[in-house]
């Protein structure tokens, strides 16, 4: 079986990651940050099942009176649903007016319309809570891994996790997809997921260090062997997870797509960082901070 020389090409792996992150950063600067969605900025969204095909311009005509900058997109498998998003948090009166305009034009009922309206206060809190949650997750996992293994493993896996989070942020910066609370949920899930793969590999490294065979081996070879021993598992698990998320993404409703998309990015990045980044990072830390 062909083996993967993780340590030999480590510069390439790091290079690819750094390039992707740099691209993300450039887009972040060009676009002036992420495209924050209504969960963070406050605003309204309306999701209506029109029941027949329609032109975006028709909806635009209705919405112009309330917010000319509203984004209007088709949804549903037959493109017969509409999702309208605006940065204005409509009050009840405005909302009733808009709903009436819709039901007059397309004769649809309340049961076919969903709406959401969020004030700016909630958004600010959410931003604060999300950051706290992320930091806590990082801290919790770092402590757990350091406790179960040792601190170098902890730090290496933490770096891989931060990498995954940044890659997901970079994807959103490039594509300018609105960032909502589902994105945060996806981030945290990926943190839990990606560390999974890293731990399996680190577990193997630790086991191999203890074994007879590795007495004469240097760290590079130990890591290479361990990564290859766990490679099937790393790939298979990512595959099965990806299969389910892809099914949700392609067959699911918009709200599910919102959570599935960042996860696809995260699972790919998590697999990459666990297999190719975490172990070389650990070796580097190991060399830099030798055990006395």
């Amino acid at each position: 079986m062909k083996t993967l020389n993780v340590m030999g090409y480590k510069k390439i792996w790091f290079g690819i990651s750094l390039t992707l992150l740099a691209i993300g950063l450039v887009f972040l600067l060009i676009n002036g940050g992420l495209n924050l969605g209504m969960d963070f900025t406050g605003g309204s969204s309306i999701h209506a099942n029109i029941g027949k095909t329609f032109e975006v311009s028709e909806i635009r005509d209705i919405m112009d009176k309330y917010d000319p900058s509203a984004t209007i997109t088709h949804a549903g498998q037959n493109k017969d649903q509409v999702i309208i998003r605006t940065k204005i948090s409509f009050d009840n009166e405005k909302r009733i007016e808009i709903m009436k305009a819709f039901s007059d034009k397309y004769s649809i009922e309340a049961k076919d319309i969903s709406f959401e309206s969020i004030g700016p206060t909630v958004g600010k809190e959410l931003a604060m809570q999300s950051l706290t949650a992320l930091l806590l997750a990082f801290l919790g996992i770092m402590i757990y891994v350091s406790f179960r293994f040792e601190w170098r493993f902890g730090l290496a896996s933490l770096t891989a996790l931060i990498h995954d989070v940044l890659i997901m942020v970079a994807a959103y910066a490039v594509l300018q997809i609105p960032v909502n609370s589902t994105f945060i949920a996806a981030l945290l899930t990926i943190i839990g997921y990606s560390i999974n793969a890293t731990i399996v590999i680190f577990d193997k490294i630790r086991e191999n260090i203890k074994s007879e065979r590795s007495r004469k081996m240097d760290y590079d070879s130990i890591v290479n062997v361990a990564v290859n021993q766990t490679l099937t598992r790393s790939i298979n698990t990512s595959l099965t997870t990806l299969i389910t998320i892809f099914a949700l993404y392609f067959l699911g409703v918009p709200a599910i797509k919102d959570i599935a998309f960042p996860m696809i990015v995260g699972v790919l990045s998590g697999c990459y960082s666990s297999v190719l980044l975490a172990s070389p990072l650990w070796v580097a830390l190991r060399r830099r901070f030798k055990v006395s």
């Binding site: 969903s114 945290l188 839990g192 389910t244 949700l248």
Partner: protein
């Protein structure tokens, strides 16, 4: 020995199928009926439709928000909502100064929001001087009824009210003073009726006209009866899901999830052959147990929750994959199959535990900080991870052993290993 093991194996498979059948379809034998677990799991408002409103009490400098006022506000809201006839409305305090109202499957969100959003401070104001004569606190009774309309031609919906003794006294004096003039009736400073005083009203009984329909009069009566909110509440966020849309997303998401799960099943059989099939059987048990536990926990299944459940299947496979790969490692060391399975499971356990525990850490944090549907996601994922560890470590192991003893599982190539050394 051989056939005994295989019979036992088949018995386990049948038992799992039986449980799975009950979980999804329930059972009905004679007078005993078991409801499917899927029916016992509560659906979130994003799947069944309904309105969620988050309200925040506004501090006034001279009148700070306190616990007692918040409790009274909740009681007032409850009384108002009761007129809507919603099944299982949930009104909860969130933190210090917030109230969340959940109204499942509501058909007319506009009316509900009207009822919830108002402070409903009722005031009778003397038009000449602008002085407040009586307020909602002076009203003892209020109810909607029909009364002869002002033009005398028909019936119009009105709110008939009755004042408390003190209120009646104040009202009698005011009507005396204002005969021929106007006493305005205002709700939250908006005029609802501006009647002219025709005669002195000594008994504190009267009607408020101006309602367009009996329903509107009924809502106004409820607002007056329930009284004004002790603190003004500001609406922070509103989420309303149309019941039909909710049902559609439920159906479509379940379909998508089912297809994803079936593909994973196929993948496992394709890659791991017989052990893969064992893993799939374990996964069926895993799904069944998860549904039972979610039902027992009275957990609410939300749209992200379905995503969590489906995702957890992808992750549950992981435990099996780790074990199978481990067994292959042991086989490569030259151990017998039986010894390899034994040590494979033993050595895989800690790895699986460590790997899953971190997911639980992340999900626990998500549960603590998340709101509404996101919490549902965290719950299903935590439940899923724990159960998947259990089923992979115990049931997969028992079935693998039985297959080995039955002589169906022999060596490396049964793990889908090509190019065996």
């Amino acid at each position: 020995m051989k056939s005994k093991s295989l019979i036992l194996f088949l018995a386990i498979v049948l038992l799992i199928s039986f449980f799975a059948y009950i979980a999804f379809f329930g059972l009905n034998i004679g007078k005993y009926e078991i409801v499917p677990a899927t029916d016992l799991i509560k659906l979130g408002l994003d799947l069944r439709g309904g309105v969620t409103v988050l309200l925040e009490a506004k501090d006034k400098p001279d009148d700070p928000v306190n616990d007692e006022k918040m409790e009274r506000a909740v009681a007032t809201l409850r009384e108002r909502i009761d007129t809507l006839g919603v099944t299982e409305p949930v009104i909860t305090r969130v933190g210090e100064d917030r109230i969340e109202v959940q109204l499942p499957e509501i058909q007319d969100p506009d009316r509900a929001l009207e009822l919830i959003g108002q402070t409903a401070q009722l005031e009778f104001i003397e038009e000449e001087t602008g002085a407040v004569i009586i307020t909602g606190n002076d009203v003892k009774k209020a109810q909607a009824e029909f009364a002869p309309s002002e033009d005398g031609l028909g019936q119009a919906p009105v709110v008939a009210f009755e004042l408390s003794p003190e209120g009646a006294k104040k009202f009698a004096e005011a009507t005396e003073r204002n005969r021929g003039k106007i006493i305005g009736i205002y709700l939250d400073k908006n005029p609802i009726s501006l009647p002219q005083v025709k005669s002195v009203i000594p008994d504190g009984k009267g009607v408020i006209t101006g309602s367009a329909s009996m329903e509107e009069a009924g809502d106004l009566a409820t607002l007056i009866r329930a009284g004004a909110l002790p603190v003004p509440l500001e609406t922070l966020s509103v989420t309303a899901v149309g019941p039909q849309l909710g049902a559609n997303s439920f159906e479509q998401s379940v379909d998508a999830g089912t297809i994803g799960i079936l593909l994973v099943f196929l993948f496992m059989i394709f890659y791991y052959r017989l052990p893969g099939l064992v893993a799939d059987i374990t996964l069926v048990l895993y799904l069944t147990l998860t549904l039972f536990v979610l039902a027992a926990l009275k957990a609410t299944l939300t749209l992200p929750g379905i995503a969590g459940l489906v995702l957890s299947v992808g992750m549950a496979v992981d435990a099996n994959v780790i074990i199978f790969e481990r067994i292959k490692d042991e086989l490569q060391l030259g151990k017998t199959l039986r010894a390899s399975i034994e040590s494979g499971f033993r050595r895989a356990f800690l790895t699986i535990f460590d790997a899953n525990f971190t997911t639980i850490i992340a999900c626990a944090i998500l549960f603590y900080f998340g709101a509404g549907p996101i919490r549902g996601f965290a719950v299903t994922l935590i439940v899923g991870v724990i159960i998947s560890m259990f089923t992979a470590i115990t049931i997969t192991k028992i079935m693998m052993k039985l297959l080995t003893q039955g002589g169906l599982l022999k060596g490396m190539k049964y793990f889908g290993e090509r190019g065996v050394k």
